[in-house]
Point group: C2
Chain length 116, copies 2
Amino acid sequence: MTIQEAAQRSGLSAHTLRYYERIGLIHSVGRNSSGHRDYAESDLQWLDFLTKLRTTGMPIADMCRYAELRRKGEETADERREMLELHRERVRSRIAELTQDLKVLDTKIDSYRGLS
Amino acid sequence: MTIQEAAQRSGLSAHTLRYYERIGLIHSVGRNSSGHRDYAESDLQWLDFLTKLRTTGMPIADMCRYAELRRKGEETADERREMLELHRERVRSRIAELTQDLKVLDTKIDSYRGLS
DNA sequence: ATTTGACTTAGAGCGCACTCGAAGGGTGAA
DNA sequence: TTCACCCTTCGAGTGCGCTCTAAGTCAAAT
C-alpha cells in the first residue's frame, strides 16, 4: 500500500512515516518499480505497536533500541521483554500519578462549586 | 523564603521559577531589600497546584490563562471551574487510554514469556 | 507534449518547555 | 578588601519529536 494509505491507516502523517524509517524505527519498507514506498500488512502491525509505545510515553530513542533488538532476531527476546516490563512499570506509575492528581482536581472543582 | 528554598520545596529549579514568573504564571513574588525574590507560603501552594496542572499535561499557555483569570478575581470563578472541568475530562481520557495500552503491553509481554 | 500531482531524498525549521549564559550587583567571611 | 557566592535581568541555546521545504523523478490525464 502507498504511504498515504499507510498514513491513513496508522494515524501517522506521511512525513512521520518517512521520519520513522529514516531513524531506523521501521526497517526496509518495500519499494515499487517507481521507487515509491509499498507498505505491507506487517509494517502496519509494527506501526500500531510503535504507536502504543509512543502514546504511553516511551522516548523515540528507546523505541529505536527496541527496533534494533527486534532486527537482531530471536536471541534478543529476553532483552526486549525486559524493556517492555520496565516500560510497563513506568506506565503503571504514570496512571497512579494521574489518578492521584485527578483527586486534587476534583477537590479544587468542588471548592469552586462551593463558591457559586 | 529564598528562590533556592522555594526551588527545593516546589521541586522546580530556580531557573524554572524565574521563567514561570516571567511568563506570568506566578504574579508579584515579593522582593527583599536586596531585590532578591522572597517567596511566601501562598506562593508555594500556588506552585504546587501549578505543578499538578503541568504533570497532568496542561499546556503552559492554558496555565497562563488560568493564572490570569485568578488575578482578575472572584468574578472569573465560573470560567476557571470550567477550565478545570474540561481539563479533568482530558486527564480521565488519558488514564483510560493508558489503561487500554497497558493491556496491549501485558499481552505482548505474555507472548515473550511464551517464547522463553 | 505538457500539465498535474504524488512520490523521492536530504536537510532545515518549528513549537514547546525549559535551561543556560552573560553581565552586573549585594552580602558575608577571612 | 578581596574573595566567594548568591542573586538580578534578558536573551540565547537545547532537546525532543516532529513538520516542512527544496529540488528532482515518475506516471497518468488532457
